[in-house]
Structure formats: structure tokens, C-alpha cells
């Protein structure tokens, strides 16, 4: 018991000492006792505000990067073409207040959404392009809206279709049949395509026909009830409750179950699978079973009344007016809220919306990206976490390699002197005279091409480590040379201590401060070198992120000017990390050798 008490006592004492706090004042004699050099250093360091600031910033960055990337692991191969260059901010689900409690119809586009209220007024929210901001004439009353990748269409109460947003690729060329039609039933904006279904059962479509190669059997025209699309194909629900795919392909989408034909009341498609609900409320899913799309939740099975599909998820409206979502849930789009009076549902891309009987609109799913996305639609913030971990790991391991070599070479060289010293120092000079960045580039260009990703990353660590040890070795050598002549070494020698023990137990602790300071500063320069290498494309290459190679793709004036979030955030992170490490190193040097501050 008493032993335990003693141990905790000594532990707190160590802690107090570590952080340079004063020990309890006992008596005047004790206070006048000398401080250990280590405590002096810590105290000097803590008193240096700039250095402490650097330490705190670095700890914050380090913790964020390592804890963050552990909590949200990055799928390095993930790409999403529909989410390219999204600006930072969480406004993708900020529903306009006018629509919030008075919604009639909403539709989700790639990074924006459109809605129409019960008075026929149009609203849109989210990330709007300049073309999308030019909304159509608001003197009309609208009844239906639909949003696509970067365009939207709306149906007026007079039965006219209007389109806005992207007007290229033939999206603005509304066919004459549609312009003349007065009985439009459904409008749908898809991936660079627009679709219209009339009450008479005809389907018309226009837009980029290369994006979606579909054809409608003439026999089908006049029998179409509803159309759904994803990025690769389109399906129609016929008036006799059959599901027909509009493109000839052998993809898993074509495996429409036979038993549901003639019995389907609603269909929905996402980019992995298609779902259909039959009259008995059973949901049938076919396509590719990713993200658990085939596992229809029990709450929906047998009670489903309507379906909607996003990009990788489905949302179902049940007969007792609740909503159920399943599928990919990385942005919470499959975590449906508990609703009891939902009247209609809508899903698209990474969001779902439900409108209840009073017109109250509820949404769930992707709100936006903290630091935006890059040109492949990858979340910049997530890549910064993983990239920071990669950058710091490479820097740390490179520094450890160079420190180990430097300490061993410098220690041996300084302690033994003579021809060993001469040989090792000549060798160090040869390594020093290798031009660093060019050689690193040559090595990673030539050797790196044959290696796997992990091999390449390890190779960069080793190159950095192997080329940066000589300056440390020289420093250690000088320190050991001077330490060798000190009395305590002579005393230790006289006591017959083994050489190994002498070097590592007696001399090394006396030069360790120099090693620590140098290692810190070398860590900063390793971060810089790795980033520079990755930046010019010879370090870590895509898809693995580092702070350096995230900036590689930002090397055009278009990106620098328009997609500022792609370079500003990684730049800030990298700069802050290097500055804080340099501040720490500088502060430590001042703390260890107060005279250096005088200089």
C-alpha cells in the first residue's frame, strides 16, 4: 500500500518536473538548491511564448491528422464525377424558408436542389453555377421541377416545359413535340439529359445522347407511365405495370426479375441497382449489390408505397407514411429521420427529401464539404487528413533513418578519430556533394516506376533519410570530439568502463540535446523536401494523397483563381506544420543554449 502511494508520488513529481513546475516550497534551503539542466531547459522553453505557440499548433495539427484519419479512413480510389470542384460550405441542404413549410415538389441535383412551393413559386439552393442562377421567369406558376447534373427543368401550370442551367450539349433544344404537348405528366432531368412523359404515354428526351445511349421501342410509346434514369441507363414503367430497360446492354441492370412484370407500381434507379415495388408492397432490387442495396430493411419490405433512388441509396415511402432509406450512408443519406406523416419522397445523388401532408419539407444526407472537393470529386478535407498523416509519417521515418545514421557515423568518427574518422568523413562529404533534389528526382523516377505504391513511399523515406544524414554526423562528431576530452570521460575510462557503455551511456546523453534540436529542424526540412518532390510529381503519386501532391493538380491558373479551396487549405496545413516545427526547434535551441539567443 505504502509502496503504491510512493510510486504515484514520484509519478506526479516527474510530471511536475516535466512541465517545469516548481516543486512545493518546503524550506528556504531547498529552494536554493540547483536545478537540473533538464528542468532549466524545460523552464526556458515554456517561458518562450513563440516556441510554446509553435508546440501547441504542432500538437493540434498532429492530433487532428492522426486521430482524424483513423476515425474517417480514406478510400484512396474513391472518385465521383458528379461532385467535381464543389466549393467548401454546408449549404447543400439549406432549404429556403419560403419553401420549408409549403413545399409541393422538390428535386435533387448533383450539388444543388430545386423546389416549387404550393403557390407555384420556384426555389433553388445548394451550390449554384452562374448559369443555374439565371432562374426562369417568376411570373409563371410552376407545378413540377426536376434537377439534373448541372441543369434543371420545370413544368408550368399551363403545361409548358422550361429549362435552365447548363444549356450546352443540346439541353436547351426542347423538342417540338414537348413544346406543343399540353398533357405532360412527368418531367425528369438526368445526367446531361432531359426526359418528359405525357399523359398519353409518350416519352420524349433531349440532351447529350452520347452520355446515355438509349432508344425507345416504337411499340412502347403510348404505353409509358414513368421514367427513371441513372448515369448509365434508363428504365420505364409501363401502363401495364411492367419494367423495361431502354438500352441494350448486358450489365447487371438488365437482370429484371420476371416474376414482378405486370405487377409493378413504382420503380427507382440509382447508380448501382434498380428497385421496383409490386402491388403487395414488396421491394425487389437488382443490379450490383454494393453498399447493402439488396438488403431491403424490414420496415420497408411489404409496406412500401413509393420509391426514390439517389446515387448509391434508395428511399422508400411506406403505406403508414414513414420513410426508410438504405444503401451507402457515408453522408447520412441512408439514415432517414423518423417521420409519421410523409406524403411524398424524393431522392437524388447524396440527399433525400420527404414532404408531409402539410407541405413541410425534411431533408437528410450530404450537407456539403468542409474544404470542398477536387477535380475528381474527392473530399479535400478527408484527403488532407490522410495526406497529412502520409507527409508526417514519411518525414518522421526519413528523419529517424538520417538521425540513426548520423549519430552512429558521427559518434564513431568523433570517438575513434584517426583513419576511421578520415574515412567516414570523406564518405560523408561524398554524400554531401550529391545534389540533393536532382538525385532524389532521378532515383524516384528511375527506381520508383517499378515499385508498388507502398514500395515507392518507403523508397522516398529511404532516399530522404540516406541523403540527409551527413550534416548531423558532422555536428555529432564535433560534439563528441569535445566531449571526449572532458574529465568525466577520462574518469569513466579510468574506471574501466566498456567502450560501448562509455559512448552510449556517458558521452551520448551529453550531446543528445544537439541531436534533438537538429532532428526537429531536419524534420521540418524533410517535410518540405517530400512535399516539393510530390509536388513536381516525383514523390508520392496519386491516388495516395500527401499535402505536396494535392497541390500538384492545382498547378494551373484556372484552379488557382477559381477553385481556390483546392490549394489554399493544403498550403495552409503544410505551411503551419513546417512553421510550427521550426519554431519548436528554434525555441529548443534557445532553451538549451541560452547564449545562442544572445547572438
Amino acid at each position: 500500500m505504502s509502496e503504491k502511494k510512493k510510486r504515484t508520488g514520484s509519478f506526479t513529481l516527474t510530471l511536475r518536473r516535466l512541465f517545469g513546475m516548481k516543486e512545493k516550497e518546503t524550506d528556504i534551503l531547498k529552494e536554493e538548491q540547483m536545478q537540473s539542466p533538464f528542468r532549466t531547459i524545460v523552464r526556458n522553453y515554456v517561458e518562450n511564448k513563440v516556441a510554446m505557440f509553435g508546440l501547441i499548433v504542432f500538437i493540434l495539427i498532429f492530433a487532428t491528422v492522426f486521430i482524424g484519419s483513423a476515425i474517417w479512413p480514406l478510400d484512396v480510389n474513391y472518385q465521383d464525377l458528379t461532385q467535381q470542384n464543389v466549393s467548401p460550405g454546408f449549404n447543400m441542404m439549406s432549404i429556403p424558408s419560403g419553401l420549408k413549410n409549403n413545399a409541393q415538389d422538390v428535386s435533387v441535383g448533383s450539388i444543388f436542389a430545386v423546389g416549387v412551393d404550393r403557390d407555384g413559386k420556384l426555389y433553388q439552393w445548394g451550390k449554384l453555377t452562374d448559369k443555374l442562377k439565371k432562374m426562369p421567369d417568376d411570373s409563371q406558376t410552376y407545378v413540377q421541377v426536376s434537377a439534373g447534373l448541372d441543369h434543371a427543368i420545370a413544368l408550368t401550370s399551363e403545361g409548358k416545359v422550361v429549362t435552365w442551367g447548363n444549356d450546352r450539349l443540346g439541353l436547351a433544344n426542347i423538342p417540338f413535340e414537348v413544346k406543343d404537348a399540353t398533357d405532360i405528366k412527368q418531367i425528369l432531368a438526368g445526367y446531361q439529359m432531359s426526359f418528359v412523359v405525357t399523359e398519353s404515354g409518350n416519352l420524349y428526351y433531349w440532351g447529350n445522347e452520347n452520355a446515355l445511349t438509349i432508344s425507345v421501342d416504337p411499340e412502347l410509346q403510348g404505353n409509358i407511365d414513368k421514367v427513371v434514369v441513372n448515369l448509365t441507363t434508363a428504365f420505364v414503367l409501363t401502363k401495364d405495370q411492367r419494367v423495361v430497360m431502354l438500352s441494350n446492354s448486358t450489365t447487371p441492370f438488365a437482370n429484371i426479375p420476371e416474376e414482378i412484370q405486370g405487377n409493378v407500381i413504382d420503380i427507382a434507379a440509382n447508380d448501382r441497382a434498380v428497385a421496383a415495388v409490386t402491388e403487395d408492397g414488396q421491394v425487389h432490387v437488382w443490379g450490383t449489390n454494393d453498399y447493402g442495396l439488396f438488403d431491403v430493411p424490414e420496415a420497408a419490405q411489404g409496406t412500401t408505397a413509393a420509391l426514390a433512388g439517389g446515387r448509391f441509396h434508395f428511399t422508400a415511402l411506406t403505406t403508414d407514411n414513414t420513410v426508410v432509406s438504405w444503401g451507402n450512408d457515408i453522408y447520412g443519406q441512408a439514415s432517414a429521420p423518423h417521420l409519421t406523416d410523409a406524403a411524398s419522397i424524393e431522392a437524388g445523388y447524396f440527399q433525400s427529401y420527404a414532404i408531409d401532408a402539410d407541405g413541410h419539407l425534411t431533408g437528410w444526407g450530404l450537407k456539403g464539404y468542409l474544404f470542398g472537393t477536387d477535380h475528381y470529386g474527392r473530399d479535400v478535407a478527408m484527403r488532407m487528413l490522410a495526406g497529412g498523416r502520409m507527409t508526417m509519417t514519411i518525414g518522421a521515418i526519413a528523419v529517424i533513418i538520417s538521425t540513426i545514421i548520423g549519430v552512429i557515423v558521427g559518434g564513431i568518427s568523433g570517438y575513434y578519430g584517426g583513419w576511421v574518422d578520415n574515412l567516414l568523413m570523406r564518405f560523408a562529404e561524398i554524400v554531401m556533394s550529391l545534389p540533393f533534389l536532382p538525385l532524389a528526382i532521378v532515383l524516384s523516377a528511375i527506381v520508383g516506376n517499378r515499385l508498388s505504391e507502398l514500395g515507392r513511399i518507403s523508397m522516398i523515406m529511404v532516399i530522404l533519410g540516406l541523403l540527409s544524414w551527413p550534416s548531423l554526423a558532422r555536428l555529432i562528431r564535433a560534439q563528441v570530439l569535445s566531449a571526449r576530452e572532458q574529465e568525466y570521460v577520462t574518469a569513466a575510462k579510468a574506471m574501466g568502463i566498456r567502450e560501448f557503455t562509455l559512448i552510449f551511456r556517458h558521452i551520448l546523453p551529453n550531446v543528445i540535446t544537439v541531436v534533438i534540436v537538429n532532428t526537429t529542424l531536419a524534420f521540418a526540412s524533410c517535410l518540405l523536401t517530400e512535399s516539393s518532390l510530390s509536388f513536381i510529381g516525383f514523390g508520392v503519386i496519386e491516388p495516395s494523397p500527401t499535402w505536396g501532391n494535392m497541390l500538384n493538380s492545382a498547378q494551373s491558373s484556372d484552379v488557382i483563381a477559381n477553385y481556390w479551396w483546392r490549394w489554399v487549405f493544403p498550403s495552409i496545413a503544410l505551411s503551419l506544420a513546417v512553421i510550427s516545427i521550426n519554431l519548436i526547434g528554434d525555441g529548443m535551441r534557445d532553451a538549451i543554449d541560452p547564449k545562442s539567443n544572445e547572438r
Partner: protein, 327 residues
């Protein structure tokens, strides 16, 4: 001194050969057969026998059929006699490829060197004289930030501010495309294009050199002769600019010397961002296209430059400070 120089020179030659063997070995480790690039690949399907003969001939002309040591000796012999080989990327002898880039790199770095020292010397002196003042501390923190900022981050910020938001300077290249200026107008256009890379490379060098100048000046100010000068009743200006600064110049001169040599090196990052047609950019494109003759020649050039730089620094130290004896 002469003895030291000869010793040093012999040592340089030794290092040069070691590094050249290393470089040669690395290049030979490159996967792929350069001879394949010289033979028309269509021949393989139409006439396999002749393709094989053509391949053999190509190998022979490149000297690839000989054992590695002989290949090395041949290459070294050619390099030492000024024949650096043929660049497959530019279809020109290497010596003709590197001429213009070297001029561009030297021009950029020379102006940058002048600017850096024109800024850092006065700033360093003031901050050393007013040691521990607010000004000095601001300079200290500023210089840490300055040398911590990655070159490409600085470059992005300057491009964003001075080429895109305020379109003052051109972003890249060395001349306005399609222009046919002559004489002074051509030089003006050249300088106009150099502005941004020059500003960035100057900005990035400020921090490190500033700290160096400050430290040299503080050391000089602590010497006994400064105390003597003050004791004599000299004006503070005379003490600082005549007595202290002249002595602080000794370490500064040495660092200028080492820099002077690295002028030829060129910054890979700055040149690739601003598409400045310099040596760094040439090395990068040679590596991307696996143009071995070109990058080998450039690597050897870099090694010679580094070795010369070290030697020159020693000599400069010796000349600037007669107390230093080279052994």
C-alpha cells in the same frame, strides 16, 4: 595554400568519379531498352528478321552490346572530351540543348541574388543593432515563416495576387508568345516575364540569408574592437557601418560565393511552376521522358557545380579572413 588546393582538387576528381559510377549504375538500372525507340516498331510485324537485325544495329550504335565497365569508360571518355551525347527528346546534341536554359537560369538567379542581398543586408544590420527590440523580434519570426513556407505555396500566393486578382505580371514563359521584339523591347519583355519567378525566388531566400546576416553582425558587434571603437568616442554610425559591418562581411562574402555557384543550378520547383525555360525545367522534362543522355550530363554538371562551390567557399573564406589558414 597551393598544397591544400592541389590536395583538394585531387579529392574532387576522386569524388567526381565515385559519383559518376553511382549515376551510371542508376541509369543502367532503368527498365526498358533505349534501342527499341530507334527502330520502327511496324517492322516487327511485317519483317521480323529485318527488325531483329535493325535492333541489333541500333544496340551496337548505342554501344549496348558491350559489357558495362567498357560502356562506362566510353561514356566517361566522351563526357570528359565534351561529347555529352545525343538527346532523344530534342533530337539534338545535349550541348546544344542546355545553352538557352543555362542563360535563363543564370539570369534569374543572378537578379535574385542581387535583390536578396540588397534587402537582407540592411535589414539584418538594423535587426542586429536593435537586438531584442520589437522590430528585431518581428524580423526573427518573419524570417522563420519565410524559410518555412514551401516555395510552391509562395508561388501560388503570388500568382493569385499579382497575376490573377491584379493582372500585373504574366504567369509563365520567358517571352510574350507571337511577339517579335528586338533589342531593348525584347529585353524589357524578358524582364517583365521574369518578374514573378524573380519575386518568388527572392522572397523564398530572404528568411535564411537574413538570419545569417543578423548572426554575423551580432558576432561582429560583440568583438573587442567594437568596445574599443566606442571607448574612443566614435559615433555609433561609424562603429556600426565602418567597424562592425566590414567584419560581418567576412561570413557574408563566403555565403555569397557558395550561392554564386548554385546560380547555375536553378530551382526545379520555381522553374516548373512558371514554365521558366531553365536548367531545372530541362532536367525535369529529361527525367519525364527518360532522356538519359541529357539527364546524365546535367547530373554530372550539378555534381561539378557542388564540388566547385565547396572549394570556392573555402578559398573565399581564406581570402576574406586572413586569420583562416587552409591545411
Amino acid at each position: 595554400m597551393a598544397k591544400y588546393l592541389i590536395k583538394r582538387f585531387l579529392y574532387m576528381i576522386f569524388v567526381f568519379f565515385i559519383v559518376s559510377i553511382l549515376m551510371f549504375a542508376i541509369t543502367k538500372a532503368v527498365p526498358g531498352d533505349p534501342a527499341l525507340k530507334m527502330v520502327n516498331p511496324n517492322l516487327a510485324s511485317t519483317d521480323p528478321a529485318r527488325y531483329q537485325i535493325a535492333l541489333e544495329e541500333a544496340r551496337e550504335s548505342l554501344g549496348l552490346d558491350q559489357p558495362l565497365p567498357i560502356q562506362y569508360i566510353k561514356w566517361m571518355g566522351n563526357t570528359l572530351t565534351g561529347n555529352f551525347g545525343f538527346s532523344i527528346q530534342y533530337k539534338k546534341p545535349v550541348i546544344d540543348v542546355v545553352g538557352t536554359p543555362m542563360l535563363n537560369t543564370v539570369a534569374l538567379n543572378l537578379f535574385s541574388l542581387i535583390l536578396v542581398f540588397a534587402i537582407t543586408i540592411p535589414l539584418g544590420i538594423i535587426s542586429a543593432v536593435k537586438k531584442r527590440s520589437v522590430f528585431d523580434q518581428a524580423v526573427q519570426v518573419g524570417s522563420i515563416i519565410g524559410y518555412s513556407l514551401p516555395v510552391f505555396v509562395t508561388a501560388f500566393v503570388f500568382i493569385f495576387l499579382f497575376a490573377l486578382k491584379l493582372p500585373i505580371f504574366p504567369i509563365s514563359g520567358t517571352a510574350t508568345p507571337g511577339s517579335d521584339y528586338t533589342g531593348l523591347a525584347k529585353f524589357g519583355d524578358y524582364m517583365y516575364h521574369m518578374a514573378l519567378p524573380l519575386i518568388v525566388s527572392t522572397f523564398c531566400s530572404l528568411g535564411g540569408i537574413l538570419r545569417y546576416v543578423r548572426a554575423a553582425m551580432i558576432d561582429a558587434l560583440r568583438e573587442d574592437y567594437i568596445r574599443t571603437a566606442r571607448a574612443k568616442g566614435l559615433r555609433e554610425k561609424v562603429v556600426i557601418y565602418s567597424h562592425a559591418f566590414r567584419n560581418a562581411l567576412i561570413p557574408i562574402v563566403t555565403i555569397i560565393t557558395s550561392w554564386f555557384v548554385s546560380i547555375f543550378g536553378g530551382s526545379v520547383v520555381i522553374e516548373s511552376i512558371f514554365l521558366w525555360n531553365g536548367l531545372g525545367n530541362t532536367l525535369l522534362s529529361a527525367l519525364r521522358n527518360l532522356d538519359s543522355a541529357l539527364y546524365m550530363a546535367m547530373m554530372m554538371f550539378y555534381v561539378v557545380i557542388t564540388l566547385l562551390g565547396n572549394l570556392l567557399m573555402d578559398i573565399a573564406y581564406c581570402i576574406a579572413d586572413p586569420r583562416v589558414k587552409l591545411q
